[in-house]
């Protein structure tokens, strides 16, 4: 039996059900009873977003004024009334050199977002130009057995997003490949459980920073001969080790708490060990394993920023830290842009996991 895939099904699957309600509104298929649902699902979130933006705007305005007053006051105390007057004029004129450094307003953040995109376009144009220029030379170098020349200019904001995603996925896969098999073994065997329990309990609460330092100590020595940049390796291993505990614990719990009825069925049918694990135990513990994987994904994305910052591995974390160190007049706005990008990507990653979970698991989970 084949089922056609519609927009409604896909969006509901991913917990984005409001999209199909929106579609119904435009195609005029919306029933009257659904209108209340539409109000709740679409209008209320939009209203709350607007309210949030309004509060943010007012808050940043008030912070801006406080900061400006303080600057003028300071100029008055240090250098006298003329300097204070000059400062007041300077702030009012919008001159970059004397702008108060505080929470940027939504409009400023939006401008920074646009400037970051423009910057990305410039850099990618530069990159293609570079690739065209070096194409023949690189071909010749490869033919001679030499390393090709690569672009070494600074990465754009978008490049850094992709780099961060790469790190988090590598870390996630590492966590998946360590935690799921280990969790299954621990869940199946009470002996292994008591052997590993202290280990899990002690290492679970360790902070990402400490994980980073630990991984750094080990990887640095292991890669002592390599001339390559090890920051990526270090950061993805740290992300993986830091985030794998939720999956480990959930998998072990899921496997060890399979419904007794199913185990009895497996016994009565005399299933072999492999059959029992793959046909009975794993399918029934999938919902819990996925709960763990979802937590791992979000923890991984959360600690990634801190770890990139420490490892100096290019990515969103480094971007945020560099902007903070940079202290340019639009740095704060760029940090806020990065904050939203991080949040939105985290949300999308969560929905991606939900999609995978609902595809493979027999129990359908609703989005929260």
């Amino acid at each position: 039996m084949k089922q056609s895939i519609t927009l409604g099904k896909v969006t509901k699957f991913m917990g984005l059900g409001f999209l199909s309600t929106l579609k119904d509104l435009f195609t005029g298929k919306l029933e009257k009873e659904d209108f209340k649902g539409f109000l709740r699902k679409v209008v209320v979130p939009i209203a709350s977003i607007l309210l949030f933006l309004g509060l943010w705007h007012l808050g940043s305005q008030s912070l801006y004024n406080t900061e400006a007053e303080f600057k003028i006051e300071k100029a008055l105390n240090d250098q006298g009334p003329e300097a204070a007057e000059a400062m007041r004029e300077c702030i009012a004129s919008g001159d970059i050199s004397c702008q108060p450094n505080t929470l940027p307003s939504p409009a400023k953040v939006w401008d920074s977002y646009k400037s970051l995109l423009k910057d990305h376009q410039i850099i990618s144009a530069d990159k293609t130009e570079f690739a065209e220029k070096t194409a023949t030379l690189n071909a010749k170098r490869i033919a001679e057995g030499k390393e090709p020349i690569v672009y070494t200019g600074r990465p754009s904001f978008v490049d850094q997003i992709f780099r961060s995603l790469k790190t988090v996925f590598a870390g996630f896969l590492l966590a998946l490949f360590i935690a799921v098999p280990l969790g299954i073994f621990i869940g199946l065997s009470p002996t292994l459980k008591s052997a590993f329990n202290w280990f899990i309990q002690i290492f679970k609460p360790v902070s990402p920073v400490v994980w980073y330092l630990l991984v750094f100590m080990i990887v640095k020595t292991l890669l002592i001969d390599s001339s390559e940049d090890s920051s990526f390796t270090i950061s993805f291993i740290s992300v993986g080790l830091c985030s794998m505990w939720a999956t480990l614990v959930n998998t072990a719990m899921g496997v060890s708490s399979v419904d007794k009825d199913y185990i009895n069925v497996a016994k009565v049918l005399k299933l072999g060990t492999f059959q029992k694990i793959f046909k009975v135990i794993l399918p029934s513990s999938l919902p819990l394993i996925f709960t763990g994987l979802k937590i791992t994904m979000s923890v991984g994305w959360m600690v990634l920023i801190a770890i990139e910052l420490l490892a100096q591995s290019p990515g969103l974390g480094t971007f945020v830290w560099e902007e903070f160190q940079n202290g340019a007049n639009d740095s704060n706005a760029k940090i806020i842009v990065a904050m939203f990008v991080i949040g939105i990507i985290g949300f999308l990653l969560d929905r991606l996991m939900l999609f995978v979970q609902n595809t493979v698991s027999f129990e359908k989970t609703d989005a929260i």
Partner: protein, 282 residues
């Protein structure tokens, strides 16, 4: 030599001070081709007894002999139908049955398996639902899948643990007939555990009440001498049916009352008189 024999079985759960003897001194023998029903109250240890026979549990003392050999662990020779169906919810009807077929008859071609599974699913009349998941089926349909799964392993004996307990009266009736039909075809030995006396009388050759636990034992057996095939409506007027039914119910009621009188304990209530608030404020 009986087909299935239980000798002085007892089963204790827990250890030391917390030990409770659920079953004690159980003796039972079932002949080949016989249909035996064990009737008992809830909580009397029926499921424990079933699990001892099918090999999921081991007795604390005594032995279970099947075809003269002691039972150790489960076996394909004894098919089990559980009370709560125990279908795997992530497998379709066909896959649930296929799983049993594959285990019972290893190393056959895929087509052979499919044909076997289809045969048993048809036997219980579920061919239209072959690709459905258990959650898409009604309770009766689920139990039919469980019946098909148990039968598909071609067991020598079928053990049913309150198989129809969770179903409504009408579905119960049809399923009773279906199970009897299948049993009648190749006369396998069958053991039915139930809490419904009528069901026991309608289906079995012999009824044995289980006295309630802890330390449950089997009571005296009642033979049912009603010709097969039996007819539900006619049976109500059958003298022999009425007599057996009354005898069994009386017996069960008696042991129920016996237990109640054992359990009664005198509670001494404190001697209190309510305070007179009205008088107090005058």
């Amino acid at each position: 030599m009986a087909y299935l024999e239980l000798h002085n079985i007892s089963k204790t759960y827990g250890q030391g001070d917390y030990a409770t003897e659920v079953l004690s001194n159980i003796n039972l023998s079932i002949e080949e081709g016989e249909f035996v029903a064990i009737v008992g109250f809830t909580g009397s240890g029926k499921t424990t007894l079933v699990n001892l026979i099918n090999g999921l549990l081991e007795p604390s003392s005594g032995e279970v002999l099947f075809k003269g050999k002691p039972v150790s662990g489960t076996s394909h020779e004894r098919g089990v139908i559980f009370q709560n169906y125990s279908l795997l919810p992530w497998l379709t009807v066909e896959q649930n049955v296929l799983m049993a077929v594959k285990e019972a008859f290893p190393k056959r071609e895929k087509a052979v398996y499919k044909r076997k599974a289809a045969h048993y699913i048809e036997m219980v009349g579920l061919t239209p639902a072959i690709n459905k998941l258990p959650r898409e089926l009604s309770g009766g349909m689920r139990q039919r899948v469980a019946v098909a799964r148990a039968l598909s392993m071609k067991p020598d004996m079928i053990i049913m643990d309150e198989p129809l307990g969770a179903l409504d009266a009408l579905t119960r009736g049809t399923l009773q007939d279906q199970i009897l039909n299948i049993w009648g075809k190749d006369k396998r030995t069958a053991l039915l555990i139930t809490n419904d006396v009528d069901e026991g009388i309608y289906m079995a050759d012999r009824i044995i009440p289980l006295r309630p636990g802890p330390r449950a034992t089997l009571g005296p057996e009642f033979k049912i001498d009603i010709e097969r095939p039996r007819d539900k409506t006619e049976m109500n007027d059958n003298e022999s049916f009425k007599k057996t039914r009354n005898a069994i119910i009386e017996y069960l009621m008696d042991i129920g009352n016996e237990r109640k009188s054992e359990a009664t304990e005198e509670y001494v209530l404190p001697d209190l008189t309510p305070k007179d608030f009205v008088y107090q404020f005058k």
